[in-house]
């Protein structure tokens, strides 16, 4: 049953291309006015799921809903509510920025002053007003992304689906895009966003879902995923040790410890997952010093979204 506050819902969604299961029984919901991050390696099924949600593809089985409307049975109603920004720009030759946005405004049946106002507002929001007369095929990558976002916003949709919006952007453009997404969420829009830049997602998203090989592996609020309370005692910590001297020998020594997983050396730094409490951390430090390792610093840090992603996924591709 769809909750009236659920703006996006995937319900047992499958999409198979021959033997390849691009989406394999994905189910989750996104609440009104929240930002949902869709994380997964390349080929995990993010884009396929988003294309189905945007009514560009048909599921093999299952369904997806936008504001309660099925993308399979009522795509026309979904399209009025949804703005889709794909991972490509899709510009026309011999059309400038204003004409491009005006065309899509017309395509959403906006007329007269309402259309002009929509075009102006979108150009103002995306900062494209200064480039209004510039041909769309002459825009930089960052400006094209803004144009694409503007196109997705032109009919003032309640749901936004953004597929890798930050891909290929420089740091400034990324920060600006992040600000725009925050603004949109503040205006009550529901946003489904996929990205490879996980640090950005953790700052923007309220909830995230991790997908691999078409299957949803984890879903929930960012904090809950990073620090699962029900597993607080058992949670593995990310430990970082900086050493003076031979790190390789220290890494081998650590790997022999049953409480330590995935030790990785990076210069003089060793990081690993540690399955133990604070007392056991102190015991480990003492043991290292007793073993004549010159420890410069020793500590644990919070698990980032990247750590969770690395733990949950296995890097499998189809």
């Amino acid at each position: 049953m769809i909750d009236s506050n659920t703006m996006i819902e995937f319900r047992g969604l499958f999409r198979h291309f021959g033997q390849t299961k691009a989406v394999d029984g994905v189910s989750f919901g996104v609440e009104r006015g929240t930002v949902f991050g869709f994380i997964g390696p390349n080929g995990a099924g993010k884009t396929t799921s988003m294309r189905i949600l945007a009514t560009l593809d048909q599921p093999t089985a299952g369904d997806a809903f936008v504001d309660g409307f099925s993308v399979v049975e009522d795509p026309d109603r979904v399209r009025h509510r949804l703005g889709f920004m794909p991972d490509y720009t899709g510009t026309y030759p011999n059309v400038n920025v204003r004409e491009y946005l005006d065309f899509f405004a017309r395509a959403y049946h906006l007329r007269g002053a309402k259309r002009e106002r929509a075009v102006e507002e979108v150009m103002d929001f995306t900062g494209l007003d200064v480039l209004a007369d510039k041909p769309t095929d002459g825009l930089s990558k960052g400006m094209r992304q803004r144009l694409c976002l503007g196109r997705a916003l032109i009919h003032d949709p309640t749901v936004l689906v953004l597929d890798e919006p930050a891909a290929g952007l420089d740091p400034r453009a990324r920060i600006e895009l992040r600000e725009m997404i925050r603004d949109l969420a503040a205006k009550g829009k529901t946003v489904l966003i996929s990205s490879h830049i996980l640090t950005e997602l953790s700052e923007v998203c309220d909830t995230v879902g991790i997908i691999e090989q078409g299957r949803l592996l984890a879903v929930g609020a960012v904090d809950a995923i990073q620090h699962p309370r029900h597993k607080a005692r058992q949670a593995k910590k990310v430990m970082e040790i900086r050493l003076i001297g031979d790190t390789q020998a220290a890494a081998e020594w650590l790997a022999a410890n049953a409480q330590i997983e995935k030790p990785q050396t990076d210069g003089q730094k060793i990081s690993f997952l540690f399955d133990g409490d604070r007392q056991q951390q102190a015991d480990l430090l003492r043991a290292m010093i007793m073993a004549d390792f010159q420890v410069e610093s020793f500590g644990s840090r919070r698990q980032s979204l990247e750590d969770v992603f690395m733990q949950v996924t296995e890097g499998l591709v189809q």
């Binding site: 504001d67 399209r79 004409e99």
Partner: protein
């Protein structure tokens, strides 16, 4: 106030009121233009903006003007002093016509083809398809853009065409008729090219298709030029506007043109329509209207020709071919109706029985084709009987023929009907088998019918030619599976052949057998019942209704209710 200043004030007031009137008119015009511009198809607006800035349009337009100018000089030089005394306009016209035909028959239709394929290549079609534009709007926008380009090219060459009229030797109606048919051909080519562009999304097939499209368009251009040159070479410098049959022929052609154009237009739109929507009903309605128009024309000709029996035969052959081709394509539709399509199904039993042929599905398509063909045979039989009865009473002067003769024509029509049932039914069975492995498509259904026909006609022919005793026979019963050989033989002889009784029995039994095998699957599709709208859709519809018509009053339950 002095007299002069009063005069100035009056003049100013007068000019002010005139200005106000002009301003009001201008504002009205401007408002109307804005209103009209808002309602223009967005694709037409976008493509016009693009086209007017594109290099391809500039080059084509420039070349058209340049070629027109060159031909004006060359043509006049070739005619020489005779231009002052002779009526040489027709010769000049043919040159300008061929110059105009190239952009209209090659550039514009290929532009329409590329219009959709390049949208798919650049992936802008994805963005377009998720807007509020309906597929029919997308197709009509692209078509409108093609028409606009035609108008621009035509306007560029129109001074030259005016020049040919002034040279004498060609009259105004002839110029108009040639241009009219050129535009019709350009629109038809554009529409077909657009349909072809919707058939595939894969790049390599698009390249293959574009080669075929270019080849076809060049052939069309060559044919148009040959027709023009031949027409004027044979001295036909004016169209026979006084001839009744000229207008009748044109009206018949235009009826066929409009109906086929609508069919191709809706087929292109259906190709762009999302899978769960009903893509078929509109097409089927056009097929029925087309059939009715064809029947109407044939009936009119038949009456005009006083019941010429050949017309009944031509009617059955053409209609049979039409229903066979369309039926073959319809059997490729998916048998599963989406819930969305089921929302509009007829609810009553009678509605389901009589309107089932209009709803999507291979079985209902088969039924529609069989019913269409059956109606042709019934109409032809009725016509022959009416001619017989009315002719015998002398109410209307019909060509009389014997009852035996009428029966022969009816038998040929009936045999054609049996072939339609058999071949479409076999195709339907094969596609049901194919469905176990892959989803059948309309293209697959078309190819299945081609394969069946090739087997049905080819195998008996090979066997007959390999048998010494039958090699030189005009017909043998081995050819029963071959509709082409059998029908050509029967139509060619037009007599009651000795094979006729056996053909009638065998084909009737085969048709009945194949029809009965298909009945269960057809019945399953006819039994599909209407489903209610989802709650959310019903809620929104109610909200929209309320916005449109105001809040609904509660229904009165008794005469005393307020």
């Amino acid at each position: 106030m002095s007299e002069s200043s009063e005069t100035i004030a009056i003049e100013t007031a007068k000019s002010g009121s005139t200005m106000n009137t002009f301003q009001r008119i201008w504002e009205f015009i401007e408002r109307s233009l804005v209103w009209g511009g808002d309602r223009l198809n967005p694709i037409l607006v976008k493509e016009t903006r693009q086209a007017l800035k594109s290099r391809q349009f500039m080059v084509t337009f420039g070349l058209l003007l340049f070629c027109g100018w060159i031909w004006s000089i060359l043509g006049v030089a070739m005619i020489g002093p005779d231009i002052h005394y002779g009526a040489r306009g027709a010769e000049m016209f043919v040159g300008y016509y061929c110059i105009l035909a190239f952009p209209l028959l090659v550039i514009v239709p290929f532009g329409a083809f590329r219009g959709l394929t390049s949208e798919k290549e650049d992936r802008t079609y994805d963005l377009l398809s998720i807007t509020a534009l309906r597929p029919r709007q997308i197709v009509s926008g692209k078509l409108g853009s093609a028409f606009l380009q035609m108008a621009i090219y035509l306007s560029a060459i129109s001074p030259c065409l005016g020049f040919t009229y002034m040279l004498r030797g060609i009259d105004f109606p002839t110029i108009i008729a040639f241009l009219f048919y050129l535009i019709l051909a350009s629109a038809a080519f554009s529409m077909i090219a657009m349909l072809l562009s919707t058939l595939t999304g894969s790049k390599h097939w698009q390249i293959v298709l574009s080669v075929f499209v270019i080849g076809g368009l060049l052939c069309g251009f060559w044919a148009a030029c040959v027709i023009a040159v031949e027409s004027f070479d044979r001295g036909g410098t004016s169209i026979p506007i006084d001839d009744k049959w000229f207008w009748i022929g044109n009206a018949m052609f235009l009826t066929a043109y409009v109906s086929y154009f609508a069919l191709v237009f809706l087929a292109a739109a259906a190709q762009l329509t999302f899978a769960s929507d009903n893509r078929s009903t509109r097409l089927r309605i056009v097929m029925i209207v087309q059939h009715a128009l064809f029947t109407g024309w044939m009936a009119w000709i038949w009456l005009t020709e006083h019941g010429e029996e050949e017309i009944a035969l031509v009617y059955m052959i053409l209609a049979g071919l039409q229903w066979y081709i369309l039926g073959g394509l319809m059997t490729g539709e998916t048998p599963e109706l989406s819930n969305r399509a089921k929302r509009n199904l007829p609810q009553s039993l009678l509605g389901r029985v009589f309107l089932a042929g209009l709803y999507p599905g291979p079985g209902t398509g088969y039924m529609l084709a069989v019913t269409g063909m059956l109606s042709c045979v019934v109409m032809a039989v009725a016509a022959l009987l009416v001619a017989e009865v009315i002719g015998s009473f002398g109410i209307y002067q019909f060509q009389r023929m014997s009852f035996d003769e009428a029966i022969k024509y009816i038998a040929i029509g009936y045999i054609g009907f049996c072939y339609v049932i058999i071949y479409l039914g076999l195709g339907l069975l094969l596609l049901r088998f194919v469905k176990r492995f892959t989803r059948p498509t309309i293209l697959m259904a078309g190819l299945t019918q081609v394969a069946l026909l090739m087997i049905g006609c080819g195998v008996p022919m090979v066997i007959q030619f390999s048998l010494v005793s039958l090699r030189n026979a005009r017909y043998s019963l081995l050819q029963i599976p071959s509709p082409i050989w059998t029908l050509v033989y029967l139509i060619d002889r037009r007599g009651w052949r000795s094979e006729m009784p056996l053909l009638l029995i065998v084909l009737s039994l085969a048709a009945m057998f194949i029809f009965l095998i298909n009945v269960p699957s057809v019945a399953r599709q006819v039994q599909a019942i209407r489903v209610a709208k989802p709650k959310r859709v019903a809620e929104e519809d109610a909200q929209l209704d309320e916005l449109k018509h105001g809040p609904q009053q509660p229904a009165r339950t008794s005469p005393w209710d307020d």
